[in-house]
Each structure stands twice: as structure tokens, then as C-alpha cells.
Symmetry: C2
Subunit: 310 residues, 2 copies
């Protein structure tokens, strides 16, 4: 199975601390990288993680708060310095575009590559990008400004060919794609070999949902039902629920309850407020509701695997 | 004498490295901080150096390249989060203003403090700011875009009162300011005590010139004649002079020659290209022409003292 890897570049929130960087993640699969949010300083953390900017083709920005997108202009300037020529697609709320245009005009007026902005309607759950292997869907969230999360879902793969059966029945190479597509095989003597003897089931698909920043939102639950990995913001611990309400954020308990209600495989929490000092305690709070919870941290790498249904 | 302290927050150049951060410095004196340039991530280095953003009243931006100003929006957002109410003045080339306005409108539309932009004519050497104790002058530089350095010059201080003489001649407190201003003292019997007996000379004034980014520029020399400390960019070593010419930067030897020709007290070099790996060699190159040279580095603190004239 091809790896599907999540890298946490930053998991702090707006007020900078010595411990955490502003929001950014990279989802990597099949030689492609999808960036999710791009807080100030994100570009410097690429090299630190041994990642290459060249492979980033699409950047998804959840909302126009500085800690989620102020790293974009610098990142794009550096891509230009490094000689990039391939298109870069940026998906985000419409209000981001004038800022981005103004920054690019001033700081990199002679780009050798196209930056294509795709406005995302943050109020709707819809397919905003897909390629051969993956779909990306918007996830409406509830925050102080228009905001959405992103759901990455692998497309169903084709079944695996059983090489031993292909050899045994002397099936020509030209028929492999048909068999992968579900066709049975008819022998010269008329015997039909059912497709199920010639293939094994495809690898299971995997899914990742990124939900930051948001108040708890019941309408989100069905949209992320059963995802293998959920990143859900937990800006505050349970004691600071009143702050979460004031700022349209979530607590540890609320993130965990969302994970539980949506029957996700694993929960990773982050977007820690600068007021939060004890992340282990936050982890314990979340685990009291959803045991399979982990903490995000700068540099953390999570290999996303299919949830085993018992 | 009041301290006059320079802090190097970042001394790299456009292409980020693991070793250096983009350009930013803080000059601190008498409870005030002047920021010079503000590359991406500058805000995170304030706390690391134990400095308080509150004391920054004026920010001087040399030119509109990302590595010198992309930290501004995030810094201003964070000042707002920290509850700032006092005005913030930003001095820089005119073309910076639309970007700054666009960023502030989007990321911090409800600022509780005024951000006042003052356009600097980068082609002229003129006084752009002064307060009771310091003057700030623009220094035209030669770069790929409009660019100027900044000269900080303390205003001449008043002489020190000799407390012993004041007591001896029983001079009333109400006359102290007049005596500081140069007045002699007339005793009740008509005897005149000359001012020179009542005072000692004022502390010498100090000056700091920041020159980045620039090709070597003969017209700069008279403007920075005799400054106590000169920061001059040395983006490249002597071997890479051809790159310096291509990109309108300076080499170690050129920075040092400028320091020598302008008879400055001390030279600090920086704005290192990501291609440069051996800073000790760069230092040796500069010292071969101007021995009193030091390297800048993130977190470096330089206490600026008057140059002793032998």
C-alpha cells in the first residue's frame, strides 16, 4: 500500500510561543504533497523536516487569520528563488485573494510559474479538488470568520491482479486492464473463470479530515463519519471552555466528543492556545472520552493507516 | 551614559537556511526600541531575546523585499492580541503601503491602535524621525528596488552639572536648567563663576548606520563618516563578487572597504547568502581590510560605545 503521511509543521495558535509554530501541515502520498494552512515561518520548517517544496502542488487554506496563512507570500517567493516552473494551486476563502495578489505583485512580480487561486465556498461541503488517487472536500466550520476544514479521501483503487492465476490461465497482458476493471476470463474451450479467482480485493482507501478552527458543530459529524484520522483543534482545556465559547474554538473534551460521535479511527489534537502549558493533561482529558487520541507537535509524522473494523 | 544596544534578530538573506533568519534588528535606548527591517518570523524572536514588543514605537523598513518586511503583518496582529493601544509608526518606501493596508484590513480589521505609515524617499538623505534624544536619517542605497539604510544619531546631550560646585556656591535648584544650558552664575557679591566650573562636558553622542541591501556606493561614504558602529551587508565572500554584481549586493571586502573609507569605529557584517557556509572565512576577509569587524548572528547583542579617537 502506498504510504499516506501527515507531517505537522506547526500546531500553535495566533499568539506565538517558544513551544509551537503557527498552523501548517503537509499530507504526502504518491510523490505529491498537499499543504494545509501556511502560518508565518512555514517555509523554514520544510527543510528542517527534510521535505521538498517542489512536490507541493496544492495548498488549502482554512481561513484568513494570520496564523493560518501569513507564510504564503514568503513560501511562494522562495519557491521562485528555487527555480520552480510548475503551477501552484491555492484553495481558500475568497477574501484571501486580494491580499495574496497584493503580496505577489510587490514581492515576486516576475514569477516563472503560475499561482492559481481557487475560491472555496466555506459554507458548503463539496468536492474542491481531485486527481487520479485522491479527492479533497470542503468541511464547513463555525469560526469568527468564514472557515472550512478539508477532507482528503483516497479514491477506491482497482483490485490487485493475481499473477499466479494470470500465468496459469495464460491470459495475455493486453487483458490485464479489463480484468482489473472486473471482467471475467473466457478460456479457449469456453470455460469462464470468474473475476474473483483472478484478483484480490483492492487496498482499502484511507481518509483524513482537518478541522481547525471551529466551535463544536453537530453538522460536521456526518461529514467526517469514520475517517481514519481526524485532526481537530483543541485550543483550550476543559477548564477554559468559556474562552473557547468567546473565541469560537473547541476544548479537548469537545474535540474528543466529535471524534467519538463520528466514529473516527484516531484523533490528533492541536492548535494549542498560548495559555495552555500542560499538553499531557489536555491529552488525558481528550482520552477520557476518546482513548485513541494523540498530541500534535512540530515535526510529528503520522502514517495514516486504514482503521481496522473489529 | 545611557546604554545604546543593538540586537540582531535575523541576519540571513532571501533564501531561508537552518542557520539564519531573515533580516531584523532592534536598536534600544532609554526605554524605547527602534526596529529595523522585519523579515518573516521576527515576532517569534522577540520573546526568545527577552525583549518586549510594547516598547517598539517605530519600525524602519529598508526596502520591499520579502525577507525584510514579511514579518510586519504577523507582528502587528500579535501586538494587537497583546492589548497594545499606543501608536505604531512604520517608515518605509511608498510601495510597501498598499500591501500593508491590504494585510491589516484582512488580518486585523479591529486594531485598538493606530498604524501610521510614513513614506520614505529612498533617493534622499534626510531626517525622517527625531525625538528628544535621537535623530534617524535615511541613507540612499543602490539595490534592485528602491532601498535605503538608516542612520541613528544621538542628539548632543546637555553638560553634566557638578553637584559639588552647585552646593559650594549655593546655587538654587531653579537655576540648574539655565546652567545646563550654558549660563554662568553671578554670586550675590557680583563675582561671576564661569559655566565651565559648574559643569563637566556632556557624554559623547553615538551613532549607528544600517546599510542593507546595497552594491558598493561611493556616495554613501560621507553620509556615514565616523559612525561608531556600521552594519554593512556582506551577502557574499570575495570569490562570489560576480554574484554580488548580478544581485546588487556587496562582498566582505567591499563592506570592509566602505567601513575603512568612512572611518567608522566598528563594522558588523551580515545578510549572508544561503550559498555562504564559512562565516569565519568571511570575517577574515573583511578583517584583512578593516580589522575591527565582527560577525552578526541571531541573538547577538552589541553595546554601542563612542569610538575612542587616539
Amino acid at each position: 500500500m502506498e504510504p499516506l503521511d501527515l507531517y505537522i509543521l506547526g500546531c500553535g495558535s495566533a499568539n506565538p510561543t517558544q513551544r509551537h509554530q503557527p498552523a501548517s501541515q503537509v499530507l504526502s502520498t504518491r510523490g505529491k504533497m498537499f499543504m494545509i494552512d501556511c502560518g508565518e515561518g512555514t517555509q523554514t520548517r520544510f527543510a528542517r523536516l527534510g521535505l521538498s517544496m517542489k512536490r507541493v502542488g496544492h495548498i488549502f487554506i482554512s481561513h484568513a487569520h494570520g496564523d493560518h496563512c501569513l507564510g504564503l507570500p514568503g513560501l511562494i517567493c522562495t519557491m521562485s528563488l528555487l527555480g520552480r516552473t510548475s503551477q501552484l494551486h491555492i484553495h481558500g476563502p475568497q477574501e484571501l485573494e486580494p491580499f495574496l495578489q497584493s503580496a505577489l505583485q510587490l514581492f515576486c512580480p516576475n514569477l516563472e510559474f503560475q499561482v492559481l487561486f481557487h475560491a472555496v465556498d466555506t459554507t458548503r461541503h463539496q468536492l474542491i479538488h481531485h486527481d487520479r488517487s485522491i479527492e479533497v472536500w470542503s468541511l464547513p466550520l463555525r469560526h469568527r470568520v468564514p472557515c472550512c476544514g478539508f477532507l482528503f479521501r483516497e479514491k477506491p483503487a482497482l483490485p490487485h491482479i493475481r499473477r499466479d492465476m494470470i500465468d496459469m490461465y495464460e491470459i495475455p497482458v493486453s487483458q490485464i486492464n479489463n480484468i482489473k476493471a472486473g471482467m471475467d476470463w473466457t478460456m479457449p474451450d469456453g470455460t469462464i473463470i470468474p473475476n474473483s479467482r483472478l484478483t484480490t480485493p483492492p487496498s482499502p482507501t484511507r481518509s483524513y479530515a482537518y478541522c481547525s478552527d471551529t466551535s463544536p458543530l453537530p453538522s460536521l459529524i456526518p461529514l467526517i463519519e469514520g475517517v481514519d484520522l481526524l485532526f481537530h483543534e483543541a485550543t483550550f482545556d476543559k477548564e477554559n471552555e468559556f474562552r473557547a465559547r468567546q473565541t469560537f474554538h473547541s476544548t479537548t473534551l469537545e474535540a474528543a466528543q466529535t471524534a467519538k460521535d463520528a466514529h473516527v479511527g484516531q484523533l490528533v489534537i492541536g492548535h494549542y492556545s498560548s495559555r495552555m502549558r500542560n499538553e499531557e493533561q489536555m491529552l488525558n482529558e481528550a482520552r477520557s472520552i476518546f482513548p485513541n487520541t494523540i498530541l500534535s507537535d512540530e515535526g510529528k509524522h503520522i502514517s495514516i493507516t486504514p482503521t481496522t473494523t473489529l
